[in-house]
Symmetry: C2
């Protein structure tokens, strides 16, 4: 399998509504992008200090399928419209497992 | 389920052997810590620029089981002996999904 992991921290003042918009928009992606095998996202639980605020873990059958997701117009729109406007920090890895 | 996601970037000059030592030590943890339900780790595939170098995605039945892992002496030893000496950056989220 091939996995995409990305962690986000939002800019100060980001509203709960903006965060909910991101989560809702991302949850639509498995329906729009059939290459997604698993898609598990969520907000940090606050168990440890210094964490990022949100995580996306997306699994694919291959790196090629991940690239379809990465470059898919529906995904790009979520990034441009919901994520980028409130993004302060981003950390990512893609790996085979 | 409860998930722990952590991404690492190693200090410049970290050897492949040191990286392999981290991976091998982490792969021992599911055998030592029965609370781990899924444990999928790996090095960044180099598909995108600016990524961290290594990812750990660990799943548990509950936040309590994650805390057993987090504070487990075998896990703490891997962090102290194999990870900390070569760690440049760390990004993490823990979330329910």
């Amino acid at each position: 399998m091939f996995r995409h992991v990305v962690l986000f921290t939002w800019v100060a003042g980001t509203t709960d509504e903006q965060k909910a918009t991101v989560e809702a928009a991302l949850k639509e992606l498995p329906g729009a992008i059939p290459e997604i095998r698993r898609y598990e996202i969520g907000s940090d639980a606050g168990v440890n200090p210094g964490n990022h605020e949100f995580a996306v873990v997306a699994d694919f059958d291959s790196v090629e399928d991940y690239l379809v997701y990465r470059d898919h117009p529906v995904h790009r729109a979520v990034i441009a419209d919901a994520i980028k406007p409130i993004l302060a920090e981003r950390a990512a890895v893609q790996y085979a497992f």
